[in-house]
Amino acid sequence: MKLHELTINKANELLKKKEIKSEELTSALFNRIDSFDGKIKAYVTLDKDRALEAARLADKKADFTQPLTGIPMAVKDNICTKDLKTTCCSKMLENFVPPYDATVISKLKDTNAVILGKTNMDEFAMGSSTESSFFQVTKNPWNLECVPGGSSGGSAAAVAADESLYALGSDTGGSIRQPAAYCGVVGLKPTYGRVSRFGVAALASTMDAIGPITKDVTDCAIVLSAIAGIDSFDPTSSDIPLSDYLKCLHDELNGIKIGIPKEFLDNDVIDKDVKDAFLNAAKIYENLGCICEEISLANAEYALWAYHITVAAESSSELGQYDGIRYGHRATKYEDLKDLYKKSRGEGFGTEVKRRIILGTYLSDAQNYDKYYLKAQKIRTLIKKDFENAFNKYDLLITPTVPTTAFKIGEKIDDPLKMYMNDLYTTPVNLAGLPAISIPCGFSDGLPIGLQIIGKAFDEASILRAAYAFEQNTNYHEKRIKWEEGFSDEL
């Protein structure tokens, strides 16, 4: 097996056995990036020198009891990395270098992780295709004409193209799960509060979650164990104890009750292939001894709109700090203070960001606050109740991650409403703050299909166990990309 194809788990074994060195592994990844990323465009910043230095340090210490030590990884570019550009893929932060690490980064650095670089994303995580990045359009490794999904498209594409062993993403309405589904990798959105948000540029503080994108479920459990837990720098992080996410993978699945929200299948946006793959997945669970039953999430149909009102309103406030005064883009020519704000923000933000800020400002002003924002929060409460009711009877819910497979680049970028439909199955989970994973469950025309498994709050363990069992009984995650001409696997 080639080094860049390794999972975290396997690489750790080899490192422990001293069969490979972290430096060697890291170099292999940079070689892979050098020959592939020109076409994939997953990375916006590489940090080769420091990555190799970190790898050498890991080799020197030669203590690989922590599974992420010496393992090369990639970070979504809205997660602050000390002394390394963190741009949110916006012109606004094109040259922003944070003087601090996000808590998730500090935790990874403590285990001597190797940060290869920062990955592309929709500008300020606003989007589902990574096309709204100020820098570049990332290609779906399975089909270069397609989007990788978004907003963590760079992270998902990097892992799918073996340009990183794993990556971190952020998920406010599906931004980890949807690109994971489109790129045929594993993506976990943890429970709100499970992983610290400190140092991650906010999109909507009531929904943002940080999580792993990995090649398989075992790796997902490994990364979650490393980044989860209470953080004194994030007052919304939870002190509920962590489970042993690796151990629980092997727990018995027999007898588990799984609910299938019927509203997610009986609609006119879902592709037939996606539905078939999903129904097949449900059958696999039944074969594994699970009880699968149809349920109703009656208010789910309002979720998308409640979600978009909430995100727009919250992000219009969160993004106010990018004003060109202390850091970030500042217009060079302006008349007065007001003009400085207008021009700096006008030049610094892209179309989708401006669209949402304007919408959000309108939705949350004094006249509209009750009518829209407050109403959206009421819908949110109803959706939470729907989930609570469902989880009174069921251990897990399963749905397709996305109604379709990856779409063509340029196909939806000018039609925001169509783009938003991508998030139909993922946004209710964020509104309710629940954990959910996307794992590969099939293919349609060579493009991966994702299965979403939703769990009770802070019950990532059950999700991982079900995902692992699925993986053990299928081989979707092992299917390799057939690279087109122009890609060279040999170096």
Binding site: C88, R197, G199, A202, P235, T236, S317, T361
Partner: protein, 472 residues
């Protein structure tokens, strides 16, 4: 027509916590600009607010001292607006559910007790400061103050004159300084006050349109601004005009208010990154137990317990340290009024003269009492005592040591005083003649001569008696 003035005050007070409200940065001032800043108070990507527990305690203490109901659960919200001194483009404040409500402050305009209601008191963060340098085309931003904890205290529109507003502010300041949550220095910006003022025809129940006045640098400015605004609004109303709701700026140098901006709708949204502030009864009572006797109660007690006149009691209780000092003195000296005279006259004037704070006094209350006992015993005269007091103030030495070192012990020896008096009589025949001719003033001159002779150490009562005896 006669008009009634309606005044409400919005007061911002900086709390004296060591660190800022949402981060560990120091609240200290006077360092290089931007020396107490971190990613949190600079509003950098992904920074989150961390609640400083002391701020909640200080604020709740203030709320309790102002007779407010403390909310068991209160929340933080964002007030969204753009300004270069506001790093996050929102100020974290409490809008929907504030910490405290329904309090009051008692004032006594014209000897009549009156309660001024406090509608709301809430916690919030301060903004930074803009520095405009004369002649430069830009402004500088100093964010050391950004994130310093504040409480905003919003009164009911219960005040009816500049005098009442002034009394309210004074009492507010005294109470907050007493409980040691703020130093309330308006000149230094640790207490800021905005005025809401409107007029209505006397007897009317409805409020007129109010105007907000900002940029008040002192209590005196508040008084002047209200008096000016009363006149301005009255003139408009009397000439048939109407008041527009707006914010006006007080111009201290010119003594008038000018238009600043029209009515603005603030954009508030809940602060999603902070848990609600929960103050259960046991915590509330723990905080309440740290509140000392407040100035009004203390004043009443001083009047009763020490039989002080109201004036003395209110001057001494206006400052907690002064009142503490006074009470300590009274423990060692039998006549509280005498102590009050010394504290109010000698101590206050030397403090004013030197600009020194009472906090840093070098001598102890016991030493002042000891000195008063020395006067009573005739060891020193009242006049000499003033010099001894000054010495104590400057050196912190005990009165006994000062008197010994400087040889200031009063001359009370009958024979010695008689011989000095005889000498003075002999040397001043004209004054003696004047006295005998009925000019009683001449006696004073002779006493003065004896005092001069003894460098002020002669026992004044004895000198008087001896002189009169010798002359008659």
């Amino acid at each position: 027509m006669n008009y009634e003035t309606i005044i409400g005050l919005e007061v911002h007070v900086e709390l004296l916590t060591k660190t800022k409200i949402f981060c560990g940065c120091s609240t200290e001032f006077g360092k290089e600009p931007n020396s107490h800043c971190c990613p949190i108070c600079l509003g950098m990507p992904g920074a989150l607010p961390l609640m400083n527990r002391s701020v909640v305690e200080y604020a709740a203490k203030a709320g309790l001292a102002l007779n407010c109901d403390i909310a068991e659960l209160s929340r933080f919200d964002r007030k969204n607006y753009f300004y270069p001194d506001l790093p996050k483009a929102y100020q974290i404040s409490q809008y929907y559910i504030p910490l405290a409500r329904n309090g009051y402050i008692e004032i006594e305009p014209n000897g009549q007790k009156k309660r001024i209601g406090i509608r709301i008191m809430h916690m919030e963060e301060d903004a930074g400061k803009l520095i405009h340098e004369e002649g430069s085309a830009y402004s500088l931003v100093d964010l050391d103050r950004a994130g310093v904890p504040l409480v905003e205290i919003v009164s009911e529109p219960d005040m009816r004159s500049a005098e009442e507003a002034w009394l309210y502010l004074n009492n507010l300041k005294t109470i907050l300084s007493y409980i040691e949550v703020s130093d309330c220095k308006m000149e230094e910006g640790s207490l800021r006050c905005d005025i809401n003022i409107s007029l209505r025809p006397e007897g009317s129940k409805e409020f007129g349109t109010k105007v907000e006045i900002k940029n008040l640098g002192s209590f005196r400015a508040v008084r002047r601004a209200i008096e000016y605004e009363e006149k301005r609004q009255k003139e408009i109303l009397e000439s048939g005009g109407s008041i527009t709701q707006e914010t006006r700026r007080w111009d201290e140098a010119q003594g008038f208010t000018t238009f600043m901006r029209g009515k603005v709708e603030n954009r508030y949204s809940p602060e999603p990154n902070m848990a609600p502030i929960i103050i259960k009864d046991d915590w509330k009572e723990e905080i309440r137990s740290k509140i000392p006797e407040l100035p009004n109660a203390r004043k009443a007690r001083f009047m009763q317990e020490y039989s002080l006149p109201e004036y003395d009691a209110s001057v001494i209780t206006a400052s907690k340290i002064l009142a503490d000092f006074y009470e300590e003195c009274v423990k060692y000296y039998h006549d509280p009024k005498v102590v009050s005279n010394w504290v109010m006259v000698e101590l206050m004037s030397i403090l004013n003269e030197t600009g020194q704070g009472i906090k840093n006094l070098k001598f102890t209350p016991k030493q002042l009492s000891d000195m008063l006992v020395m006067i009573d015993k005739g060891t020193i005269s009242g006049k000499i005592a003033k010099d001894v007091f000054r010495d104590m103030f400057e050196t912190g030495k005990s009165p006994e040591d000062i008197v010994k070192e400087k040889g200031l012990i009063q001359i009370s020896d009958e024979a010695e005083l008689e011989s000095i008096a005889q000498k003075v009589i002999d040397n001043n025949p004209k004054s003696v003649q004047d006295y005998k001719n009925g000019k009683k003033k001449a006696l004073g001159f002779l006493v003065g001569q004896i005092m001069k002779e003894t460098k002020g150490k002669a026992n004044p009562q004895m000198v008087n008696t001896i002189l009169i005896r010798l002359l008659d």
